[in-house]
Structures are given as structure tokens and as C-alpha cells.
């Protein structure tokens, strides 16, 4: 598992509670890697309370996925749904759980322009017009507005943000 992926799961575990998942009581297990080496991350969600372990036990939803792709999805460079549709990952059990868990993933920094700035500035349209991508992203990581996007963005490390902003690895736009 890539270190940024592992760091993301650690961060989710530390968060403990996620308001966006308050209607969710379910478990999802990520089987990450290839045939040679698989690591597990089991998320147990109980009305928004999240516990993460590396157990390999049955879950409501199991996602079998390569470590590179998971890292791309977690950091918003591709979506779980398109990856699922193109057969790049395998979902067993209830796919709704995966859709809900995606709420924990931050957005794609390179795709974020005006609107997040508008949110951070309290819907001030002028800053929405002028905000640059990179500054928006770093602002999102350090500002504690009520916005869900900014909450999630704290998960991406500064080095990730820099790499993504340079435009590598992103899907066509």
C-alpha cells in the first residue's frame, strides 16, 4: 500500500466521527494490492463513528483494488464509479456503501477552481473569479470552515497537492 494511502486511512481513523456518514451503519473492507501482496483495511461505520483495523473478515462491501488506483481514487484523481464501470476494481456486496464511503475522499485539487474559493470566502463571488487552483487547494487544507470539501481536503498531504496541481495522472477533462 502506498504511504499516502496508508496515511489517509490513519487520518480517517483519527477523525473518529464523520457527520456525513451519520445515517450509515455498515462495514467496508478494502483489499489493496495484487496477488503477491494484499493488505486489508476494514472500516466499521456505526452512525458516523468510524473504526479502522487491518482485519481480513467479512464486510457488507468488499472492494478489491490495486494500490495505485486506490491512491488515485482517494485523492480524487479519478472516481470510484468510473473505475468500477471500466472494470478496474471489483465490488462485492452492497455497492451503496462504497458510494457513501467516497464522501471521506477529498476532491481533485486540479479540478477545483472558483467554487471552493467561493465557499471559503462565504460565497464571495469576486474571490471565486480570481482564485487560483493551487492557492485554493492549500487554503482548503488550512481553513476550518463548515464545508465538507475542506474537511476532506485535510487528508491530502502538501506533497500530493503539489504533484496533482502540476496536472499529472489526471483523467481527461
Amino acid at each position: 500500500m502506498k504511504s499516502s494511502t496508508a496515511a489517509f486511512f490513519d487520518e480517517i481513523g483519527r477523525r473518529g466521527h464523520e457527520p456525513l456518514l451519520e445515517r450509515v451503519t455498515a462495514s467496508v473492507r478494502f483489499d489493496v494490492g495484487d496477488e503477491a501482496s494484499v493488505e486489508h483495511r476494514l472500516l466499521r461505520i456505526d452512525r458516523g463513528d468510524i473504526r479502522i483495523t487491518s482485519e481480513d473478515v467479512p464486510a457488507d462491501c468488499t472492494v478489491t483494488i490495486g494500490d495505485e488506483l486506490l491512491d488515485e481514487i482517494i485523492h480524487g484523481r479519478t472516481g470510484a464509479m468510473p473505475a468500477f464501470l471500466r472494470g478496474a476494481l471489483l465490488v462485492e456486496g452492497n455497492p451503496e456503501v462504497l458510494v457513501l464511503v467516497q464522501r471521506l475522499f477529498p476532491g481533485h485539487p486540479a479540478r477545483v477552481t472558483g467554487a471552493e474559493a467561493a465557499d471559503l470566502a462565504g460565497a464571495d463571488t469576486e474571490s471565486a473569479e480570481t482564485a487560483s487552483t493551487a492557492s485554493t487547494t492549500s487554503a482548503a487544507s488550512t481553513t476550518s470552515t463548515a464545508s465538507t470539501a475542506s474537511t476532506a481536503s485535510t487528508a491530502s498531504t502538501p506533497s500530493d497537492a503539489g504533484r496533482e496541481a502540476s496536472g499529472t495522472g489526471g483523467p481527461p477533462q
Binding site: 464501470l85 472494470g87 456486496g93 467554487a115 467561493a118 476532506a152 483523467p171
Partner: protein, 683 residues
């Protein structure tokens, strides 16, 4: 010609063929066998002794089943009918076709029967936009089946064709050498199974739970669906037929998204829109609440699950935003289109809250309202935090995905739908008026939910204060004093886009209209510039872009009119609402009970019949829902506390109507109304 096409469907799986049952699709032709937004058969042609067949008749048995009677020969004047060919086709996960040949002769015959089969695996978007495939197709024989396959990286789709009688298989189809005895018959069943493959060749979409039989009894399912709906008793045969048609078409348009299990919601329409649309699914669910409230429950749950949580310009996604459209095809899978899901709609988000409240008022399902509290709050937050693009407190839209995003993110989404009186088009962001009504209604209804279910009276007060302020501002900023109506929109500078349009009718529905302004609005809606005699035009006669057969600039939309009628009732204009209902329901008679998406805005006295707008989309969900909402408005059905208030205002020509066993939090209630309102036209 689309009129000659035969369509059968089940959810997002459907077959569109010619009247012989054949499919010979070109790249841009919407015929074929489709599932998950992908064409799984583009060629399916039956020949007997290498001759094509001629259609004698076609029976639309059910929305999921049709039967074709054919004879050999290519339609010469004289048909020697020694042989009859019957194709009976059912859509059901894939499709099955019972092929039967009847020999009417006294001697036995030998014939060669052949089905040519092929597939281009086009994404629906590719069919629409005439694009080239990027992957490779192949055909192979495997375990007595013909397998057509498509592959692009990890993206894999297959079509597996088999028959109950042994066939001579090759890569281009199936052949049968058949001997039929005198006055005898021969039959085989052809099966076509589409498969969406994931890693390790496992089916991508999890199989239904084991308890579900692999093949539903579709007829029984349809019977049960109609049985659960209220019964309409009426002397008016046309109304009865329209009601039945609406229920059946609504059943046909039910669609189970991947995450909804066996529950279903309304897809938008055949053939292009057999998928979940935020706006269409919500508005159709609203129309159908008194008849099939479970559609609303699934719509709310699925749209809530997919609610936006981040800022993503490619998908025009924001936190709290409700999706516009979801697709499962190849271009979505490779992110060449943003529909996974795409969020570019400015109305679905406030309408989500409106539906949640209205659903609870009908059903008393407090659990869902509590379960979706976070989603509803996020939707309400979106209105202020993300939709305020003009900085003046109004909901506006401007796409951030300029390549493949939608320019107009309101229901009138064609390029020229939003114009000034003189025909100029405004810049972006645009704040159309009905969006402000929806936002106002969402805040008012959200306040009720906060107070009664979320235990947050302070938030309720805040929402109500916001709503009151919005209403006050709106009535000042959008009111066109000269014309005594609301502007269609505010432009990028906050100035009025001053065309007179049907959008003002939605404002009545939302309750944002000041009481002293409502009579002028009702007068416009039923006045000569907007009202054609059949219904309210999308754009008024006299506007520069008015065109009676312009998509959003002069045609009459049945769905639009059903919400306008609801709005007129809300403000006490019973007679005016009855006139709108009468016009649309009388128009339905000309379409055998199936209202099209739109019809021409010509004056009723001029054409005597409603002129259908040339569109390929039929049935369409919110047109199907229009007669249902019109029944509600004619009977004046309004949930109040634990009761259903009935306050009929039925047009004279409609006669007496009884709607029996209306389900809701009250159990079941009957409603009666007599045709007492004189609406001028009609019988």
C-alpha cells in the same frame, strides 16, 4: 422514422427495432438492444431462405413485450402466405425471442432460417454524437453460444446469444435448416444476454439477492403495480384511458440504479434518458406521490447517497449538490464524459428538499426525513454557499466544465431558452426566476422539517427568516412593472431578462409570489399570449424568440402545465387550474393517453388538434406524471396533518370523477368531484 419504431423496455434495458423486429443500426441511429447505456446489439436481422420478411402486423402486448407477424418476401403487392413467421419478444434482464414458423401448405417444406447478429457496443453518447470506438470488438463461438465481445483496457462488455434448438453458429449469426411438416410448425427461443464484466471476468453488477427469482414475472408485477394504485372511476373514457396509460408507462419507466437493490425510481424517458436524472426523477416522484409514493422514497434515498461532497469542476460538483445525470457507459467509465455522476443542475438541489417534505406530508415516513437530515441540511447549505454566483443572494448557474458540461442548468436547457424580450441572450451566471421559487420553498419546507423532525427550532427560525427576506427581495428585483409579471431571469449584471414565460407559473407553485401580485400572474398564464387553449406556452407569443414549435420557446409542455395548475390551486385560482387541466387532458386524447414531451404552441382554434413536437423521447416520465398531478389538482387533494383534504374543482367536460383508495398517512381515502367548472372549451 421514429414513429415506426417498436420499443420495449425494462428499466435501463430496452430494444428498439423496426416493425419487422429487425435491427440494422447505423452509427448514429438509436435502434438496437441497449442496457447500461451501451448498445449490446446493433444488428439483428431475420431472413428466411435469404429473403427479408414483410410485416403484417405488430402487437404491443406490454411495455416489455411485443409480437411481430411476418411473411416471406420484401413487400410485393401479392403476398403468398404459405408461411407465417411470428417473433415474440420479451425484455427481461436481456431479451428473449420466441421464433415460430407456421407452414400453411399441404406439403412439407425445407427452409433456411437465419438471424444475422452483430454489435458495435456503442455508448449512448457515441450514438448521439456520432463518435468512433476506441476499443476492439470480436466474435467467437463458445459452449454453443455466439459471444460478441468488446474490450478497451479493463473495460469489457459481452453479448451472448443462444437458442433452444441447435443452430449453425458462425461469427455473424445463427442459422437453422428447418423442415416443417404440412400444416405444422417449428419454434425456437433465442436468448440475448448482455454482460458487464469486471475483474476476473466476474459480472460487474452484483447479482440480485438469492431470494429474488432470476426471471421476474413481469406481468404479475405490472398487475400488482396497477392494483396498488388508486382506482379511477369516471364516465369520461378518455380520462380513464389516460390514467391507465400513465400508470403503465410509469411502471415501464421504473429503473433500479446499481445502488438501489430491487427498489426503483423513475427514469426520465425512452430512448435517450433511461437513467436517473435529479430533476426528472424528483418532479415525476412529486407528480406521482398520491399514486405511488415509493418512487419518491427511492429517489430521495439514491439522490441523497450520491449527493456531492467535494468541489470538482469536471463534474460541476459542489458539497450538498444533488446530481443531474448518471450514466454507466464507456465514455463515463473513461471519464470522457462527466456523468459518474454529473451535477450540473441548479434546481435539483432545492427540489430535493421540497420532495422530502412533500413525501413526509403524504406518507408520514418520519424515519426517512430523520435519516436524510444531513443530506437535506447540506442541500440547503448549497443554496447559499455555492449557488449564489451573482453575489446577490439568488440561485444562479454557470458551468465550470466548459467542454462537456451543461450551459443551461434549469429545466429549459436548450441554448436559446433564456432570452430577453428583444431576443438577445443573457450572459452567465444566469439566475432564472423559478430557481428562486424552488429555493424559497426549500427553505420554508426545510424549516418545518428542522422544527418537527430534527429538533432544531433555531435553524428553523433562521430558514424562515431567510425565506421571508428572499421573497421580499425577489418580488422587488424580478417584478417587471411595465408588464406586471416576473422576469424570466436576472442576467450576469443582476438586470432583468424581461421575457414573459411559463416559468411564472412555477412561482405560484413555490409560493414566492406576493398575494397582491398573484392575480396578474394568473391572468397572464390564462391570457392570449401564454395560453394556447391546450395549455400554457413555454414562451409568450409576442416575445422575439417565440416560435410555436420551438423546443423551449413556444411549445406547450404537459409537465410544466401540471405544476402551473398546482400553483394556480395554491393561490386559490381553482377555475384557472381547471382550465389548464382540461386543456392538457383533452390533448392527451389525441395521443391515445400518452402525452408527449411537448406539443406545438399553436392556437387551439387554429389547428383543432395538438401538433406533436418532433422528438424521439416517448414515453417521458414527467409527461407520464402530468395527468396524475392534474388529477390531484382537479380534486384539490392536500395533506393537512393526519388528513387528506379534498376540495374538487373539476371541469364540466371531465364529468364526475372518483379516485378511490388514495394511500397515505391516513390509510386509504376516496375522493369525489363533479364537473362543475365551466372552462369554455371541451365537450
Amino acid at each position: 422514422m421514429t414513429d415506426e419504431l417498436i420499443r420495449i423496455l425494462d428499466g435501463n434495458t430496452f430494444v428498439v427495432s423496426d416493425r419487422r423486429g429487425d435491427i440494422a443500426a447505423t452509427a448514429t441511429d438509436p435502434t438496437g438492444f441497449f442496457s447500461f447505456d451501451t448498445r449490446f446489439l446493433s444488428r439483428w436481422v431475420l431472413t428466411v431462405d435469404d429473403e427479408p420478411l414483410t410485416s403484417l402486423s405488430t402487437d404491443d402486448l406490454h411495455y416489455f413485450e411485443s409480437r411481430f407477424f411476418l411473411v416471406p418476401g420484401a413487400g410485393t403487392v401479392y403476398i403468398d402466405a404459405k408461411l407465417t413467421v411470428i417473433r415474440q419478444r420479451v425484455v427481461e434482464s436481456g431479451f428473449r425471442e420466441q421464433l415460430t414458423l407456421l407452414n400453411h401448405d399441404d406439403t412439407s417444406i425445407d427452409v433456411r432460417v437465419r438471424i444475422d447478429a452483430g454489435c458495435d457496443f456503442a455508448d449512448l453518447f457515441e450514438v448521439k454524437d456520432a463518435l468512433q470506438k476506441k476499443g476492439t470488438t470480436a466474435a467467437r463461438i463458445e459452449n454453443g453460444c455466439l459471444v460478441l465481445a468488446y474490450e478497451r483496457d479493463t473495460f469489457r462488455r459481452t453479448t451472448t446469444i443462444s437458442s433452444t434448438e441447435p443452430a449453425d453458429l458462425d461469427e455473424r449469426g445463427l442459422g437453422f435448416a428447418v423442415r416443417i411438416q404440412p400444416h405444422g410448425s417449428w419454434t425456437t427461443e433465442l436468448r440475448v444476454v448482455p454482460t458487464v464484466l469486471g475483474p476476473d471476468d466476474l459480472p460487474l453488477v452484483p447479482r440480485p439477492a438469492l431470494a429474488t427469482p432470476p426471471l421476474r414475472n413481469m406481468l404479475q408485477d405490472l398487475d400488482e403495480w396497477i392494483e396498488r394504485a388508486p382506482k379511477l372511476v369516471s364516465d369520461n373514457d378518455s380520462l380513464t384511458a389516460t390514467y391507465h396509460r400513465s400508470l403503465v408507462d410509469l411502471a415501464a419507466l421504473r429503473f433500479s440504479p446499481i445502488i438501489a437493490g430491487t427498489r426503483s425510481l423513475p427514469a426520465a424517458g425512452l430512448p435517450w434518458f433511461m437513467t436517473m436524472f435529479g430533476r426528472d426523477s424528483i418532479l415525476t416522484s412529486l407528480q406521482a406521490l398520491p399514486f405511488a409514493a415509493e418512487l419518491a422514497a427511492t429517489t430521495l434515498r439514491v439522490l441523497g447517497t450520491w449527493q456531492g461532497t467535494r468541489v470538482d469542476d469536471f463534474r460541476d460538483e459542489d458539497p450538498g449538490r444533488i446530481l443531474h445525470e448518471m450514466r454507466y457507459g464507456e465514455m463515463t467509465a473513461f471519464e470522457e464524459r462527466p456523468h459518474s455522476p454529473y451535477f450540473g443542475s441548479a434546481d435539483a438541489t432545492p427540489l430535493f428538499v421540497v420532495l422530502l417534505d412533500e413525501y413526509e406530508r403524504w406518507t408520514g415516513d418520519a424515519d426517512l426525513v430523520r435519516g436524510l437530515e444531513q443530506e437535506a441540511r447540506a442541500a440547503l447549505r448549497w443554496i447559499d454557499a455555492y449557488a449564489n454566483l451573482q453575489g446577490n443572494g439568488y440561485v444562479a448557474y454557470r458551468r465550470r466544465n466548459v467542454e462537456t458540461g451543461l450551459e443551461n442548468q434549469c429545466w429549459k436547457d436548450s441554448w436559446d431558452s433564456i432570452s430577453y424580450h428583444d431576443g438577445r441572450l443573457p450572459g452567465f451566471p444566469r439566475a432564472t426566476c423559478e430557481l428562486q421559487g424552488y429555493a424559497y420553498d426549500a427553505k420554508r419546507r426545510g424549516a418545518r422539517l428542522a422544527r418537527e423532525f430534527w429538533n432544531d427550532p433555531a435553524y428553523a427560525d433562521e430558514l424562515e427568516a431567510d425565506a421571508a427576506a428572499l421573497k421580499s427581495r425577489f418580488n422587488r428585483d424580478f417584478w417587471v412593472d411595465d408588464g406586471q409579471y416576473y422576469a424570466l431571469a436576472l442576467d450576469a449584471d443582476g438586470a432583468q431578462v424581461d421575457a414573459l414565460s411559463s416559468n411564472i407559473g412555477h412561482l405560484l407553485w413555490s409560493g414566492i409570489v406576493d398575494d397582491d401580485k398573484a392575480p396578474a400572474i394568473a391572468e397572464h398564464l390564462l391570457g392570449p399570449r401564454l395560453f394556447s387553449g391546450w395549455g400554457v406556452r413555454t414562451l409568450a407569443d409576442g416575445e422575439a424568440r417565440y416560435n410555436p414549435i420551438g423546443y423551449h420557446v413556444g411549445t406547450v409542455w404537459p409537465f410544466d402545465n401540471s405544476f402551473i395548475a398546482w400553483g394556480l390551486r395554491r393561490y386559490g385560482f381553482k377555475e384557472e387550474a381547471a382550465r389548464v387541466a382540461a386543456g392538457i387532458l383533452e390533448a392527451a386524447e389525441f395521443f391515445a393517453g400518452r402525452l408527449p414531451e411537448a406539443f406545438g404552441g399553436y392556437e387551439r382554434d387554429l389547428t383543432r388538434y395538438p401538433v406533436q413536437y418532433p422528438t424521439a423521447c416517448s414515453p417521458q416520465a414527467w409527461s407520464t406524471g402530468a395527468p396524475l398531478l392534474l388529477l390531484r389538482t382537479m380534486l384539490g387533494l392536500e395533506p393537512t396533518g393526519e388528513h387528506l383534504v379534498v376540495d374538487p374543482a373539476v371541469p364540466v367536460g371531465t364529468g364526475r370523477i372518483e379516485l378511490l383508495d388514495i394511500p397515505g398517512r391516513w390509510g386509504h381515502i376516496d375522493a369525489f368531484g363533479r364537473g362543475l367548472v365551466d372552462v369554455g372549451h371541451g365537450r
